[in-house]
């Protein structure tokens, strides 16, 4: 075959954009964020201060951790509403076990296991029994929240072993431990998504489940793992939250799931599956946190905060959408 191998790429790029433009296009959301950040730094007093940056980072640390796994979940075309409840339940459970056994390690371990178990159940019901993910996790959201209330009797569970508090309150190199843990999560899950078989399979499953199955990817197993890990990380977030506020509270983290999902979608993770980047998710999480932080700094009325939050969310996805449309058309 004497095929003239002039242009190897898939197809002659119709309008091959120059490198920079393409780069800008791809990272438009990051640019939007940087612009927002710069604007706020100049216009809002105290915004660009070390203290505030640390505060901001802390405020998104829980969301950040779980957004990593939610990224996998959405990328595989799934959906998980139960994470907020898992966060609360894990915190309560951890506190209770520590009080009972006196061992922090046991408390943390039991809690992580419980989170993983909740995720596993979600995964099995969704992947094996093929029940709709929205409904399944809506149901487990209710049930796990109920378990948190029942276990604690509706009361905050204080921890007597004060060593527990160090988990979420230690400063390392001037940065609080929850922020470090979140950074580690970003790195680990970023690598997982891009470099591991598991990550690629996740994208494949989300991009085309039947093609993946036919190619021998164990779709069910992959989906179950995704939920399992998500449960465990949600539990981790719950443990750290409990440590930070020195007690396990059964009614914490309500509405957490929508925040996490918003952050992911803001970060360009497709709800139709198959598309996700860790940089996007990080930016999504940061935009959410920055907006809330700036509103508090600007002392915006609570009622108007609703408007601003909604408006920002809409604007960000709109800009992203317009950009993509341009690209596709």
């Amino acid at each position: 075959m004497t095929t003239t191998t002039q242009n190897v790429p898939g197809k002659t790029m119709a309008k091959s954009k120059t490198g920079i433009i393409k780069y800008l296009d791809e990272y438009s959301l990051i640019l939007i964020f940087l612009a927002l950040f710069a604007l706020l730094s100049f216009s809002v007093e105290y915004f660009f201060s070390l203290d505030n940056m640390i505060g901001l980072a802390l405020s998104v640390s829980q969301i950040g951790m779980v957004a990593c796994t939610m990224m996998f979940c959405l990328a595989s075309r799934d959906f998980d509403l139960s994470i907020g409840s898992t966060v609360a339940f894990a915190g309560v459970l951890c506190a209770m076990v520590i009080n009972q056994t006196g061992s922090i390690v046991t408390g943390v371990a039991v809690s992580l296991l419980a989170g993983a178990a909740i995720g596993f159940i979600n995964g099995v019901v969704i992947a094996k029994l093929r029940v709709n993910a929205l409904i399944t996790t809506l149901a487990t959201m209710e049930m796990v929240r109920g378990m948190a209330f029942i276990a604690s009797g509706g009361q905050a569970v204080g921890v007597s072993n004060t060593a527990f508090f160090t988990i979420g309150n230690t400063m390392i190199l001037g940065i609080p431990s929850p922020v470090w843990i979140t950074i580690v999560c970003f790195v680990v899950f970023g690598i997982m998504l891009n470099k591991t078989v598991y990550g690629r399979n996740t994208l494949a499953v989300g991009g085309n489940p039947s093609a993946s199955r036919l190619a021998g990817v164990s779709v069910e197993r992959t989906r179950i793992y995704i939920f399992l890990i998500q449960g465990a990380i949600a539990a981790l977030a719950g443990i750290i939250l409990a440590s930070r506020i020195t007690s396990g509270q059964p009614n914490s983290a309500q509405g957490f799931e929508l925040n996490v999902i918003s952050a992911c979608v803001l970060g360009g993770v497709s709800l139709m599956g198959g598309r996700a980047t860790i940089s996007g998710v990080i930016v999504g999480v940061l935009i959410m946190g920055t907006v809330q932080n700036a509103m508090n700094l600007l002392n915006i009325d609570a009622f108007y905060q609703y408007l601003v939050r909604g408006g920002i969310l809409l604007t960000a996805v709109l800009i992203d959408q317009l950009k993509q449309r341009e690209e596709n058309d």
């Binding site: 105290y46 405020s59 209330f149 509706g154 009361q155 509270q249 932080n293 508090n296 609570a302 905060q305």
Partner: protein
Amino acid sequence: DEIKIGFLVKQAEEPWFQDEWKFADQAAREKGFKLVKIGVPNGDKVLTAIDNLSAQHAQGFIICAPDVKLGSAIVAKAAQYKLKVMSVDDRLVDGAGKPIDSVPHMGISAYKIGEQVGSAMAQEMKKRGWKMSEVGAIRLSFDQLPTAKDRTDGAMAALVAAGFPKANFINAPQAKTDTENAFNAANVAITQNPKYKHWLAFGLNDEAVLGAVRAAEGRGVKSDSIIGIGIGGSQSAMNEFAKAGKTGFFGTVLISPKRHGYETTLNMYQWIKAGKSPDKLTLTTGMLMTRDNTAAVRKEMGL
């Protein structure tokens, strides 16, 4: 006929209401009547719950409504089914905002509790010898909830009355009523005001104040430079008092769930059974509970 009494509360998951229910149950056990407990987080649920009570042939109910302006609707609905009504905690008002006198009430106004918080903070400040100009007061607000607004407004009024400069109040709106959101809101407030040496924190409940205290501690503020006073005397507060070292969580205004739960139910029982209508208005008071007087206050409140 068996006597059956409903007890409807606005936030069934909250420890405070759980306690009220617990004591109401105690009354039911003692007197041998049936208590139906229903959570009514919004207006729609209130009406559904009253329908439900009527369907199961209850004779009366006690309610802490999610919004006091539901008063007219509740009274009308109760009259339709010939159910007796009492309100607890929050007093029902009519469309014009006037308290509805025909409904017996036991409780303490949200504003009043707030005032108690405020004056307790003023007192403690004086005791510690702080200069008021060096003190920042974080108001953890959740204005979406009318009760929350009343409570924090009360606290501010009492502080101002004690000579606290108005300029030193910092509004920190929580996105949700949990500790983490309070933490984040307070954190920003502290960042913005590096000038203050000492801090006050007050809000809707113990959980909110706890968040602010944790935030301040996290920023290196010494525990004895913080006075956080919560409301409710919940387990969150007890946990703080149980800790080995003093924390910035100075105290909490404890209201007696026993009186609110036990007495109202008993009154309703006697009203139904013997036709003895309860007092139109019983006002209870809160008590400041701190690390030092926990046991005593709880005992006095019947806990």
